[in-house]
Amino acid sequence: MSDATLSPAAMADTMPEQLTTADGKPLKQALIRAQSHARRRAFLLVAPLLAFILLTFVMPIGQMLHRSVHNEGFTWHEDVASGERTRIMANLSQWFDQNELGTEPGEAAFAALAADLVVLREVKAAGQAGTRINYERSGSRSMFTKAARRAQRLEAPFKEAIVDLDEDWLDPDLWRVMRDASSSYTANFYLAALDRTKDADGNVTPVNENRQVYVKLFQRTLFLSIVITFMTFILAYPIAHLLATLPLAKSNLLMILVLLPFWTSLLVRTTSWMVLLQSQGVVNDALVSTGILADDNRLEMMYNQAGTLIAMTHILLPFMVLPLYSVMRPINPSYVRAARSLGATSWTAFRRVYFPQTVPGIGAGALLVFILAVGYYITPALVGGADGQLISNLIAFHMQNSLNWSLAAALAALLLGGILLLYWLYDRLVGIDNLKLG
């Protein structure tokens, strides 16, 4: 106890003279300098990795998150070549600021719109602005391009002139969408990603039933990922146990069999499954030729959920086998033997002694497989057909086909948030310290 109370002050009392290094500098300072030197060096050593992670991981994710709430389609136009930025829809935006939601757009509003249409035509941004509105109200894009084409010829009274072009300009929903879009920041893409929209009064409502797809796909992705994780666990546990208990020479040979597919290109493995499982494929042909199946009754294992499940389980299997193997290998067989000698049945010995020691491996494998499965894209795209698609396939659709990157970002952010939530849950329930990757 007395040792513990030795404070620096007390030490200074007992040692009146300051300790110095060989060259006469105070020891304390020299120590601090040496430590900070070491720290700097350590930092410099990890600096490349840090910069790499910042540049290729943190920044893109930050950008993506930003994009999910930020869209300048209806506020700014940027000329790609010169990088020159022009404010568009400024007049309308001002009108929105002065009049609250639900105000019937009158002559002033349409005059502002007409002035903005002229700008749109000048900087050739009608398509861009129309596309932004089209994300939330279908059929709006051509209204903008058509109106902008005639912008110069529009004359007062503007309301009449513009409604003459297309009666839809009176639609209150259009004005609600324009109001929302006239601010660069919006949460509407998150609403869309949850199958929600706003009505003309700004209330959040579900979208028409026949267009609801995202929530369903999130659920399906979650469900399929859990099933795949479970299937890999069922398949991998015995394999890993076998690998861990066989003599080294044999287990190495088996290990290569596990790793070979792991080293093979993902695309090759996926297309091989297509060759095997399609209705005129190897498996079906074998079943038909042995008389197990009638020719007109072939199994459908491809281009549906079954295809996604089978191919992804196989592709993700090594991610379960390897962590399991790494925790099983060092388990001392004498523990189980001891349990048996003390009278435990083989099942009890497994359940009470062996299995608990493999839990960190199960946790690591399950987490790894699950997180990979949740974001899987190429395999479901190739073998999933219609009902084997995952949410990542729709994210890709919005990245590549519809070019609605904000919605893609919102979907991706929700997926990311979901995974973080599950990770947190896992940490609370199992404990992240209990994770052993190898």
Partner: protein
């Protein structure tokens, strides 16, 4: 040290030489189609100008353009895209405008503007071919040969799987035509909610029998493997499989949907000048006619029509295989790009939701 400097200097000049040696990267759809372009456009262009063409393939060349332009890292000089994509990308400011005066006149002096088919020239795009989405079947797997678009959606008459492109475009139109909507009314009907419901109702009937394809090379493969008894496809791909590869495939022209493929130049293309030269060169009367001897897509110039002759195998007459041939136009629909640019979001959302259910 001197040696080192000299070496460095050589390395630098070679590197510089490589960047400045003219090169144009053209992105197209792959397979038989890219081959036809290589033979008809790329090779003669390189021969005449010495500019090398790098040919790149994509499932849909419109896809990478937005990402490349927004990232400011454009690697494609010319892309071959569909009509609605060309308009959409142009609207979004992602394409260079093309000065139409660079396009050569027809041999008889007709200016390019009059020589190209209506709609083939856009602000940012020049059409090279007219292609169509048709449906085809494998004669060995179908006992009762389909003749109309309705047969495609009739599983009692012709049982078995059908291949369809995984996209609302063309699929919905075909469903309506199969349901008896006249081709000139298709887009009017599809513009209404009832019309869309009607199209999906037709698709509902065969939903369990559909194999979805995405890349143009898939349908001939699916048909040849017997994975499907019938499939929609780009007509040139079926022609290629049937004629060049002697597969027992037959095209049904009823209910075909005509569309353009157009050349576009992404904004900020590294070799913009050469790209424009390439487009002007490739879309002259003779080149367009030449391309048609490699694959059965119609040239976008009227003056090329008469020059279209015989397939590169030396014996097959091309004319009857063209989507624009008189006999094939009986019940044909011309894709309405304006409709699709507008409705793409809504209909694809609904299509995706329908697929997922």
């Amino acid at each position: 040290m001197k040696v080192k400097t000299a070496l460095l200097a050589t390395a630098l000049t070679t590197a510089a030489g490589a960047t400045f040696a003219q090169e144009v990267t053209v992105m197209s759809w792959g397979g038989a189609y890219t081959k036809s372009q290589v033979e008809a456009y790329h090779k003669p262009f390189t021969e005449e100008t010495g500019i090398k063409i790098v040919s790149v393939d994509a499932g849909n060349p419109a896809t990478p353009i937005k990402a490349q332009v927004e990232a400011g890292n454009v690697s494609i000089d010319v892309a071959d895209v569909e009509f609605s994509d060309a308009v959409r990308l142009c609207d979004e400011g992602l394409l260079e405008e093309i000065d139409l005066s660079i396009l050569p006149s027809a041999p008889d002096g007709t200016p390019a503007e009059d020589d190209f088919i209506d709609g083939a020239l856009q602000d940012c795009a020049v059409a090279n071919i007219v292609w169509s989405t048709v449906f085809a079947y494998n004669t060995e797997n179908v006992s009762d040969a389909p003749t109309t678009i309705s047969d495609f959606f009739d599983t009692t008459k012709i049982p078995g799987k059908r291949g369809l492109r995984k996209s609302a475009k063309a699929t919905l139109e075909m469903a309506l035509m199969a349901d008896g909507v006249a081709s000139e009314e298709v887009y009017d009907v599809l513009d209404t909610d009832e019309g869309v419901d009607r199209a999906f109702a037709v698709l509902d009937k065969i939903k369990d029998d559909i194999v979805w394809w995405e890349a143009g090379a898939q349908p001939p493969q699916l048909l040849a493997d017997g994975e499907v008894v019938m499939s929609t496809a780009y007509n040139g791909r079926i022609f290629n499989a049937a004629i060049a590869e002697s597969q027992p495939l037959e095209v049904v022209w009823d209910g075909q949907i005509l569309d353009f493929d157009l050349f576009v130049v992404p904004k900020g293309a590294p070799n913009k000048e050469a790209a424009m030269d390439f487009i002007a060169f490739s879309t002259d009367t003779q080149r367009l006619a030449d391309q048609a001897s490699w694959i059965s897509y119609g040239p976008a110039r009227k003056s090329s029509g008469d020059l279209v002759g015989i397939f590169s195998d030396g014996s097959t007459e091309m004319a009857p295989h063209m989507p624009t041939a008189e006999a094939n136009l009986g019940n044909a629909l011309v894709n309405d790009f304006e409709f699709w640019v507008d409705k793409d979001t809504e209909l694809n959302e609904r299509f995706n939701a329908w697929l997922a259910n």
